[in-house]
């Protein structure tokens, strides 16, 4: 694989843009990186997915600590769901290496269309403020995963009970498969699953998902690494750009309106979803 100096610079900028958008909107990583690497730089799918997973790990590591410090992340729930997600990530990693690229392009087109819809209607990860999570059981008879936190915006203590854990674990497995196969973080599956099915408050769901995506990405990244799909010289500038973008995006968040960024991102995702759909049907674009 050949990488010129100009391409290295372009890949760094791609990481910077992805990291910045991801920090602002909560959506980023693979949905931007993988199609860009495949369509614009000519990477094959496994190489692009491996690079994207490395960027997801970088994003999670760069931004995830903030939520933990705020006390929103439910670590017990995260680790419990992570058992299923990690198995899914390993499965997805192998699928990503073994499935034909046209099939992967089709899956990716669907994932991007779903993500574009969520971004367009504003249902992305919520960067809320938090409080203190009490790790002890909140009342006799309550589950070990149940918890409480102080919502600074609402100025009140919020108690929640985690429900339908087996169902949540099943969806977490699916999120892991998607993550490993397509090189995305999977937050667009995990957050709604925790919030809508397991009845976890949206702020806690977003923070907990943010914590989980790094571990999930590692499980599939290790599969790609072991199978020789990681190109250090092509992956390194992407990671460095993503780290810088994440740090920059964290500072910009709140200073620029989320809505214009979300609408722009949704439009880009729709266009690229169309391109990936054409690619899935064997029509060469770009």
């Amino acid at each position: 694989m050949h990488v010129t100096l100009l391409e290295l610079l372009a890949i760094t900028i791609l990481g910077l843009v992805s990291g910045t958008i991801g920090a602002i909107t909560g959506i980023g990583g693979g949905v931007i990186i993988v199609p860009a690497l495949v369509l614009a730089f000519g990477f094959d799918f496994p190489t692009a997915v491996a690079a994207s997973l490395a960027a997801v790990i970088a994003t999670s590591t760069t931004t995830g600590g903030a939520y933990v410090g705020e006390g929103l992340t439910n670590m017990r729930l995260a680790m419990t769901l992570e058992v299923a997600t990690t198995i899914g990530g390993i499965s997805g990693g192998f699928l990503g290496v073994l499935l034909p690229e046209r099939v992967l392009s089709g899956f990716f087109a669907v994932a991007m269309a779903v993500t574009a819809s969520l971004v367009a209607i504003g249902r992305t990860e919520h960067h809320g403020s938090g409080g203190q999570v009490d790790p002890e059981p909140i009342a006799p008879g309550s589950g070990a995963l149940d918890a409480r936190y102080f919502d600074v915006e609402a100025n009140r203590k919020v108690v929640y009970h985690v429900r339908r854990l087996p169902f949540g674990m099943g969806i977490s497995y699916g999120a892991g498969v998607v993550s490993g196969m397509l090189g995305v973080g999977g937050g667009f599956i995990k957050v709604p699953a925790m919030n809508l099915i397991m009845e976890v408050p949206i702020k806690v769901a977003a923070a907990t998902s943010n914590f989980m995506i790094g571990v999930t990405a590692v499980s599939s990244f290790l599969v790609y690494l072991g199978r020789g799909e990681v190109h250090p010289a092509a992956t390194t500038p992407l990671i460095l750009g993503t780290i810088a973008g994440g740090l920059m995006g964290t500072r910009l968040h709140g200073r620029i309106g989320d809505r214009p960024v979300q609408v722009t991102l949704a439009a880009i995702l729709v266009l690229v979803a169309l391109q990936m759909t054409l690619r899935a049907f064997g029509v060469g674009i770009g």
Partner: protein
């Protein structure tokens, strides 16, 4: 602090490795497997791979930190859960062939 330190070290390794690789005038970017970390790779690629490997270990360090915390709290159910996650990550590395 653990995460930030690990991130900083991995970024430093990648930056130095990339600088060495660029200055060597190479254009090809070979794929590597972790077993080659200390083999015939040039210094630049080796440093970049070390940085990437450290970055990929960082989330696992978080899981280790939680495991130790739950041992201290005697929350044995979650000690077992985090141990299973670490085991699965090891399986992922071995299953991939690394």
């Amino acid at each position: 602090m653990l995460l930030r330190g690990s991130l900083a070290v991995s970024a430093a390794l990648m930056i130095v490795g990339l600088a060495i690789w660029i200055s060597s005038g190479r254009a090809s970017a070979p794929a590597v497997m972790p077993g080659r970390l200390f083999s015939r790779l040039d210094a630049g690629a080796r440093l970049m791979l070390a940085g990437i490997a450290l970055l990929s270990v960082t989330p696992a360090l978080r899981v280790v930190a939680l495991l130790l915390l739950w041992i201290r709290e005697r929350a044995w159910r979650f000690v077992a859960t985090s141990a299973v996650v670490l085991l699965l990550l090891a399986v992922a590395l071995l299953a991939g062939g690394g």
